[in-house]
Amino acid sequence: MTQNTKTQKITSQEVKPLSFVPRFIGAFGQFFKYMGSGDYAARCQHAGKGDVFAFEAEPTVITETIETIREIEVAAPILDTVNEDGAHQLLQLLQQEARFIDFLQESIDDYADADVGAAARQIHSGCAKVLNQHFTIDVVNSASENSRVEIPAGYDAKQIKLEGRVEGSGPYAGTLIHPGWKVTDTRLPKVTNTENLTILAPAEVEV
C-alpha cells in the first residue's frame, strides 16, 4: 500500500491591458451598454471596486492522497529439474568403466552369490575409478564416527541433519552417526556434442 500525491493545477487566464485606440472606440460602446443594462452596470461597479474575476485568482494546488495496492513477487521456492546432461554423462561413464547399466538391468536372482560377488568386485573397482577420476569427495564432518560432537546454534541445515530428540535453540551435543559426504572438486570430461548424451552406450556390431 502506498500513498500517491496528485496535484491539479487550474490554468489562469490573464487580463491584458488595451492600447489607446481600442480603448477610445470601446469607451463609446461601453457608455451605451452601461446605460442599457442594469445587470452589466452592476458588474462594472464590482470591477471598478477592484474585485478580481475568478479566473484571475492564483492557481490553486489541490493535494489528495489515494491508496493503491501493488503485488511484489518474492522468490518463492518452485521445483525445477537439474541439468539432465550431467546425469546422462555420469551414467555413460559408469557404463563405460564398470558396466553399471548392464549390471542393474539384469536380474541377479538366478545367480549364485559367488558369481554376483565376483561381478561386484569388478563393478566396484570400475565405479571407484570413475568416482576418483572425476570427483574429489570429502567428508562433511571430519570427526570419527560415533564420537561426541557439538553443533552450534546457527548450524547449516544442508550440511548437518539433527536427528532424535531435537528441541531448544542449541548448541546441540550428539553422536556423529555418519560423517556425510561432499564433493569438493568436479572434473567431468568435456563433450563436443551434447545432443545425443541419452545414448549411454552405442550398440556394438562386429563386422
Binding site: Q92, Q96, R99, D102, F103, Q105, E106, I108, Y111, A114, D115, A118, A119, Q122, S125, Q133, H134, R187, P189, K190, V191, T192, N193, P202, E204
Partner: protein, 587 residues
Amino acid sequence: MGHYFIGIDLGTTHSAVYYSNASLVSNEQATSKIQQLNIPQFTAAGQIDELPLLPSFVYFPHQTEFLDSDFQLPWGKATSIVGQLARELGSKSSGRLVQSAKSWLCHSQVGAEEAILPIDALEEVEKVSPAEVTQALLTHLVNAWNTSFPHALIADQEVVITVPASFDPAARVITEQAAKKVGLRARLIEEPLAAFYAWLSDQSSWADNLDVNEHILVVDVGGGTTDLSLIQTVEKDGELGLERIAVGRHILLGGDNMDMTLTYHLAGQLAQNGTNLEPWQITGLTQACREAKERLLSNSELSDVSVVVPSRGRSLFNNSIKATLTQTDVQQLLIDGFFPESTFGEQAQKVTRSGFSAINLNYESDPAITRHISGFLAQQDVKPTKVLLNGGVFNAELIRTTLETRLENLLGDVNLTMLTPSHLDYAVAKGATYYAQVQAQGGVKVKSGLSANYYIGVASPMPAIPGMVPPVDAICVAPFGLEEGSDEQMLPNEFSLIVGESVNFRFFQSKHNDVETVGKVISSFSLGLLNELNPLSIRLDAGHYQAGDMVRVYLTAQVTELGLLLLQAHDTNSDLSWTIEFQVREA
C-alpha cells in the same frame, strides 16, 4: 608470463609431462615444486578428459566411425585419435592401431622413416613411420601444454625428453628431429639416469648417502622395456662426483610380459577344459589378470582370486569366463619366471630361433630379468653396492624384496643398499624436469657421455679378387664417455671420401665400455666383437668436385649439446665439409 622447465617422459606405453616454474625454483626444495601436467585426450567419442598419463597409442579411425564433431580437441580438430580412446578402440578393432612405436625406432632391420605401422594395417589405412608416430605423440603433448599455458608456449621453455639408455645414436637423432619438427629444442636424457636425477632431487644432501667409488645400479622396468645403467661415484677435486659408466642393451621385456604370462597360463587352463578364447577375451583376461595380480601381490595371505571375463553382450553373467588365479601361480610364474635365482656372470638364455619370422619387434627370448642383470654386471665386471629401482612393476613389495634377495645372492658378500625411489611411476618425467633445472641453474650433474665406442667402416685397399668384396675395417671415431658439448675429436689419419654419388656407410658400436682411443683400427677379422648398427646410404653433395670424385678428408666427431653424435668430414684442400648424420637410413 613464466619460464618453465619441462620434462617429457616419452614412454613405450605411456607418456607423462612434469614441469616446474623457473622463477619459483630454488634448488633446496626443488621437488615440491615439480608438478604434473594433466593431458586432455579422448576418453570416448566426442568426450575429452584430462588424465595424468597419455597412453602412447595412435588409432586411425574408419571414415564413418565418428561424427565430425567427435574429433574436436581443445586445440582444434584431430586427424587421428591419440591416447586412452585409441588404446580402447584398438583392443576392439584390428588393423588401425599403432603401439610401441618407440621400440621400432631402434629396430635393426626397419628404418625409422619407413612407413610400416600399423604392422597389421588394413588396406585402406595409410601406414606411417615410427618417426611420424613419435611426432604425433609429441604434437599432442605440445598442444596440451600450450592450451594450459598459452602465455608460456613450450617452444620458449627448457625441455628435456627422455629416451631409453639403450637407444642407438640414430634413434636419438630421430627423437630429437621429431621434437624439432613440432617446435621444441629439446635435450635428451637417458631414462634410468632421469630416474636417478629424481632420486637426487629428493635428497637434501645426496653425498651423505654415497661413498667414493661406489656403484649404483639403476634397474628401470617399464611396460615394454627393461633398461639398466650403472652410475659410479668418483672423487674429483676433493668433491664427490657422479659418472654414468655403463648402460645395458635394449631389452624388450617389461611389466606387460608379466601380465601376458598370467593371461596365457589361464588361457591354457581354460583350453584344457574345452574353452577356447577369442582375441577379445584375451584382452579382457589380461585386464582381469592385471587386477588379480595386484591383489595377490599386495596381500600374500590371499590364496586365490577369481578372474572373470564378462561376455561382450549385455549380460554380465551369461557366457562369462571364469578362472582362478592362485597365489602359487603368481609366485611361480612371475617370481621364478622373471626373477629366478641367478649367479654372477650368468647370461640370458638364448633359444634357437626359427629361420623365418614375421617382421616385428625383436622381443626378448629369456624373460629372466635377474639373468639380464647378472650378464650386464659381469660384462662390466662391477659389483654395485646401491640399487635404485624404477617402474610400476616394483610397486609390488614382493617383487621388490625378491629382486633385492636375488641381487644379494648374486653379488655375494657385498653390502647392498636399496635406495628409496622418488616415485616408481613418474620418477623419469620428474627427473627429466629436475635435469632441465640443473642444466639451467646448476646443481649436481651426472657425467654421462657416449655409452659405447663408435666405429665407422673403412674399406681397406686390396687387389681385386674375384668373388671377394674388399674387407672393411672399423675405425674408432668416437670413444666411450665422449661428453655432450665437448671438443671435437679428430682422427689421426686421413681418408678418401666419395662425393656426389650414393655410397654406403657402415657403423659399429662396441659391446664393452673400455675407452678406445680415437683412430684405433679393428681389423675386418675381429668385427664380430662389435655390434653393427644400421648402415646408411647417403649421397654427399659434390660441391666443386665432380660426382664420384675421391676427396681427401679428415674426420671429426662430436657430441652436440643436445646429446647427439655428429660425424663430419672436412676437405683437406678447401673449406668444404660434410656432415654424416645418423638419421639417414636405408629405407
